[in-house]
C-alpha cells in the first residue's frame, strides 16, 4: 500500500546518510545489527525474496508449463495448481504435488479449486488432499484464496483442516491433484 514513488529518492538519501552515520559511530557489526534489525522485519514479511525450495521434488507432468516457467514449478507458491491452496506444499516435505511424504496418510476428503493450466489454457478442478498423521511439515507455506469461501461452505474452504475420513486429524502438508477439466466459467 505504502508504494509512494515520490519517496524513492528521499528514502535513498536518508539511507545513504544513515549508512555513513552508522559507519562512523559504530563498528561494522553493530552497524549491520541496527540496520538488519529494522530490515529483517521487512524481509520476513511481504517483501521476502524467498528462493524456490531447492530441496523440493519437482515432478512435472506432460502438458504443464515446466519447472522453468513462472507457474510450472510445483515447489513454488505460484505453481498454477495452487490457486486455492492453504498449507505446506508436499513437494517440499518428501512428497510431490500428487503424492504424500513417506509415513503420512492422504485424506480422502478435501476442498477443491478451479485453476487454469497455462500450457493448454484450460481450467481444471484441483483437489487439495491433505497428507496427515505427522506433525506439521513447516516448509513451503503457501496461501492463495481464488474462490475460497468461509468454513460453513466446506467444499470451497481452505481454512478447514481436511484431515478427515481417516483416524488421525494431524495436518502435515497439502497436495494439488488434477481431478479433471472444468467447464469454462
Amino acid at each position: 500500500m505504502r508504494q509512494d514513488p515520490g519517496q524513492e529518492s528521499r528514502f535513498d538519501q536518508w539511507f545513504a546518510a544513515l549508512a555513513r552515520r552508522f559507519a562512523q559511530r559504530t563498528s561494522r557489526r553493530s552497524f549491520l545489527a541496527r540496520l538488519g534489525a529494522f530490515l529483517c522485519g521487512s524481509a520476513a514479511y511481504p517483501l521476502l525474496p524467498v528462493a524456490r525450495a531447492a530441496t523440493a521434488r519437482r515432478e512435472v507432468p506432460a502438458g504443464e508449463p515446466g519447472v522453468d516457467a513462472p507457474h510450472g514449478d510445483p515447489s513454488r507458491c505460484d505453481y498454477w495448481r495452487h490457486c486455492a491452496i492453504d498449507g505446506f506444499l508436499c513437494s517440499c516435505c518428501g512428497g510431490t504435488q500428487r503424492s504424500c511424504p513417506p509415513g503420512t496418510i492422504q485424506s480422502p476428503v478435501t476442498w477443491i479449486g478451479t485453476c487454469r493450466n497455462p500450457a493448454d489454457g484450460k481450467l481444471y478442478i484441483i483437489s487439495y488432499n491433505d497428507c496427515c498423521a505427522k506433525h506439521v511439515c513447516g516448509l513451503c507455506y503457501c496461501h492463495r484464496n481464488e474462490g475460497d469461501k468461509p468454513v460453513y461452505f466446506p467444499q470451497r474452504s481452505n481454512d478447514i483442516n481436511w484431515c478427515h475420513g481417516i483416524d488421525n486429524v494431524v495436518y502435515h502438508c497439502s497436495t494439488a491433484i488434477v481431478v479433471g477439466e472444468a467447464k469454462d466459467v
Partner: protein
C-alpha cells in the same frame, strides 16, 4: 534455545564490564556493605482477584498457548496452554475461570485422540478440571466462533466438524458433558440467549438450537437465508453488540442479526465502503477483522486495499462505525505492531547509538507495512484498540475514541493469532 547467541553477546559485553566491576567492587565494597539475605524458595505468583478491562489475551500457535497481557502496565502476566492445534478460549463473565476446548493425542500426533473442555483458574492460571468431549471438535485455521458460552455462563457449545456437523453441549455448573446435538450441515457456534445457540448454514440461513434446563435439545429452528454464500458470503468472524450479531461480507455489506426475540430479526443491511472507496479497492480482510465496543455501539473493521479473494489479506487501517447511524466515525491508519524475532523485541533502548532510536522508529512507521491480522477493542470507559500481526509477538495500542496511536507492547510471544478483551468493568 533460539536466542543463545544473544545470551553470548551479552556475555561478551560482560567481559568488558568485568574490568569496570572489579574496580567498582573494590571502591564500593569498602563503602556500601549491602549484604543480600538468602531468599525463600518455591514462590509462585498469583493474579489479583479483579481483572482489568485492559487485560488482553493473545493466542500464540507456535508456543501453543494463550497469554495474558496487562496492556496498561505493559506486563506479561502469564499463560494457559492450548493443546494440539487451533483452539478458542472462553471467558465467563461470572466465574473466575477460563475454559479451553482442547485436543490431545496419547502420543502427541498419533495414538488415541481425546477432546476435553479444560477449566483453568483465573487467579492462579492453573489447570483445575477437565470435562471429556466427543473427539470431534473442529480444528480449523481460525477458531473464532468455534465455541460459545450461553449468556448466563451455564452452558458451553463446542462446534464439531467431521465432514458432518454438530454441537457438543457442556453444563459448566454441573461440570459435565450433556449431549452432542447435530446441526444439519450448519457450522460454528454463536450464543443467542441463556438457552440458545445458532450456527451458519451453507445456504446462507441460520440454524437455531433451543436447550432445556438440562442442556438437551428443546427445539430447533431454521431461518430463511439472509445472504448468498455464492455471490457475497459473510465471514465467520461476526461480533456481537447487545443482542445483535454483526456479520460482514467479503464485499463490505453489514448484515445485523437481532437475536433478542423468539425468532431472529434480519435488520436492514448497510455498507462500510462508499462508491469511491470501492473504486479505490478498499476491502475488509484479516484473520480477526472485526471488533466491537458495546457501550458506544461501535463496530471496528480492519481494512486494506486489494482485489477479489483478498478477504484474508492483512489490514492497513481500522475503520470505526456507529452501528445505529450506519456512519463511519473513525479512521485509524495503522502501524506495524512491533518487530520481534524468536520472542525478542527489536526496539531502540539506551544501548543504541545516539539518534538511531528515533531513526529506527521513524523508519519503521514510515516504510513498514502495517500487516495487521487481528484487532480487538477493550471494554469500559476509555476503550483501547489493540492490534496484532500474526508473525510477531507484539501489540499495537491505539485510543479507540480518537484513533491516536499510544504505544507498542512487546514481546508477548513468537506469533500472535487471535486477541480477546473479555473483562468489562
Amino acid at each position: 534455545m533460539v536466542a543463545r547467541y544473544v545470551g553470548m553477546s551479552a556475555q561478551r559485553g560482560r567481559q568488558w564490564w568485568k574490568v569496570l566491576l572489579a574496580a567498582a567492587a573494590l571502591t564500593v565494597s569498602a563503602a556500601a556493605r549491602a549484604q543480600l539475605a538468602p531468599e525463600p524458595l518455591g514462590r509462585v505468583e498469583e493474579l489479583p482477584e479483579q481483572p482489568s478491562p485492559r487485560w488482553v489475551w493473545a493466542i500464540d500457535l507456535v508456543l501453543e498457548r494463550v497469554s495474558l497481557i496487562d496492556t496498561e502496565s505493559e506486563r506479561y502476566l502469564g499463560s494457559v496452554p492450548g493443546g494440539y492445534g487451533t483452539f478458542l478460549p472462553l471467558f465467563p463473565r461470572k466465574r473466575p475461570e477460563i475454559y479451553i476446548p482442547a485436543t490431545y493425542y496419547s502420543r502427541r500426533t498419533r495414538g488415541e485422540r481425546t477432546d476435553v473442555l479444560e477449566i483453568h483458574d483465573r487467579k492462579r492460571l492453573a489447570f483445575v478440571d477437565e470435562i471429556p468431549l466427543p473427539p470431534k471438535r473442529a480444528l480449523n485455521r481460525i477458531s473464532l466462533n468455534h465455541a460459545a458460552l450461553s449468556d448466563d455462563d451455564r452452558f458451553a457449545a463446542i462446534f464439531n466438524w467431521t465432514t458432518g456437523t454438530s454441537l457438543s453441549i457442556v453444563d459448566l455448573q454441573a461440570r459435565r458433558f450433556v449431549a452432542e446435538i447435530d446441526t444439519p450441515g450448519c457450522s460454528l457456534a454463536f450464543a443467542a440467549g441463556a438457552r440458545r445457540f445458532f450456527a451458519v448454514c451453507p445456504t446462507g440461513a441460520l440454524f437455531f438450537l433451543e436447550l432445556d434446563e438440562q442442556g438437551n435439545e428443546k427445539s430447533r429452528f431454521l431461518s430463511e437465508p439472509f445472504f448468498d454464500p455464492r455471490k457475497d458470503p459473510v465471514t465467520e468472524k461476526a461480533v456481537r453488540i447487545g443482542n445483535v450479531w454483526y456479520f460482514v461480507s467479503f464485499e463490505g455489506i453489514v448484515h445485523p442479526v437481532d437475536v433478542s426475540g423468539p425468532q431472529p430479526q434480519f435488520l436492514p443491511t448497510w455498507e462500510i465502503v462508499s462508491a469511491e472507496e470501492r473504486k479505490a479497492n478498499w476491502r475488509t480482510g484479516g484473520a480477526q477483522h472485526l471488533a466491537a465496543h458495546e457501550a458506544s455501539h461501535r463496530l471496528f473493521v480492519l481494512m486494506h486495499q486489494g482485489g477479489r479473494d483478498t478477504h484474508k489479506e492483512p489490514g492497513s487501517e481500522v475503520w470505526g462505525f456507529d452501528v445505529q447511524a450506519h456512519k463511519r466515525v473513525l479512521r485509524v491508519p495503522l502501524r506495524f505492531p512491533g518487530l520481534t524475532i524468536y520472542g525478542f523485541a527489536i526496539e531502540p533502548d539506551q544501548s543504541w547509538p545516539w539518534g538511531t532510536g528515533r531513526l529506527f522508529r521513524w523508519a519503521l512507521d514510515r516504510f513498514f507495512p502495517a500487516a495487521v491480522t487481528a484487532i480487538v477493542v477493550t471494554p469500559g470507559e476509555r476503550p483501547w484498540l489493540i492490534t496484532a500481526s500474526e508473525f510477531v509477538g507484539a501489540l499495537g495500542i491505539y485510543d479507540a475514541t480518537d484513533g491516536q496511536f499510544l504505544k507498542r507492547v512487546q514481546p508477548i510471544g513468537w506469533t500472535t493469532d487471535l486477541l480477546f478483551a473479555p473483562y468489562g468493568s
